[in-house]
């Protein structure tokens, strides 16, 4: 499959998944909605953004599988940089939480944290390899 087609297929799934995630986050963080809903329904509501996350990570996995080998190499490197940075920060922050009075960081921030580091790594690798448009 051509990288162009792979990217089109990625965007087709990524965009609706991202919208679902954002809508889910909005609903799950709106106090008015949370006050109206019965307790049981909140458990269902918080699954909505997770479905979005599943959709866009599946889209990313499929893109990595379908794109060309050079872009695949850069994507894998960016993902590894992202995981590495997140794990380092989580280890340091986790230990600080044990032994000092730093505030507890909600586990919710794992996903945005990973994508922040992944995005920075992707931008750097794209710039270094003159392929920025394929990484962002």
């Amino acid at each position: 499959m051509s990288p162009k087609l792979a990217r089109q297929r990625y965007m087709k799934l990524f965009i609706p998944s991202m919208i679902l995630y954002l809508v889910g986050i909005f609903l799950a963080s709106t106090e008015l909605i949370l006050n109206i809903l019965p307790k049981g329904a909140i458990y269902g509501l918080v699954v909505i953004p997770a479905i979005g996350v599943f959709g866009w990570i599946y889209a990313q996995m499929r893109f990595v599988r379908e794109t060309d080998e050079f872009i695949r190499k850069m994507q894998i490197e960016a993902i590894l940089y992202g995981v590495c940075a997140l794990m380092c920060v989580a280890t340091v922050w986790g230990l600080l939480e044990f032994y000092t009075t730093v505030p507890k960081l909600p586990i919710f921030f794992v996903l945005p944290g990973f994508y922040l580091f992944y995005g920075l790594a992707g931008a750097y690798l794209g710039w270094k390899n003159k392929a920025l448009c394929n990484m962002l």
Binding site: S2, K4, F70, N129, A131, C133, N134
Partner: protein, 66 residues
């Protein structure tokens, strides 16, 4: 690994994008191979060699700089 992809491509009058389309890879991949920033896999090297009707070792060489 050094290669003569740039001159072969120029000889056929192809742009990086056009060569990428023929090889089913991105223009950025062609650029990375040409500039030696990326060594292609064996299947892609065969594809390139077949396209220019020559052997892989005619295009790619691992000879060190003189």
């Amino acid at each position: 690994m050094k290669n003569s992809l740039k001159s072969l491509r120029a000889g056929k009058g192809l742009s990086q994008q056009a060569l990428g389309d023929l090889l089913d890879v991105s223009r950025q991949s062609v650029n990375a191979i040409e500039t030696g920033r990326y060594d292609p896999s064996l299947p892609l090297a065969f594809k390139i060699a077949r396209l220019f009707d020559c052997a892989i070792e005619d295009i790619f060489t691992d000879a060190p700089d003189p």
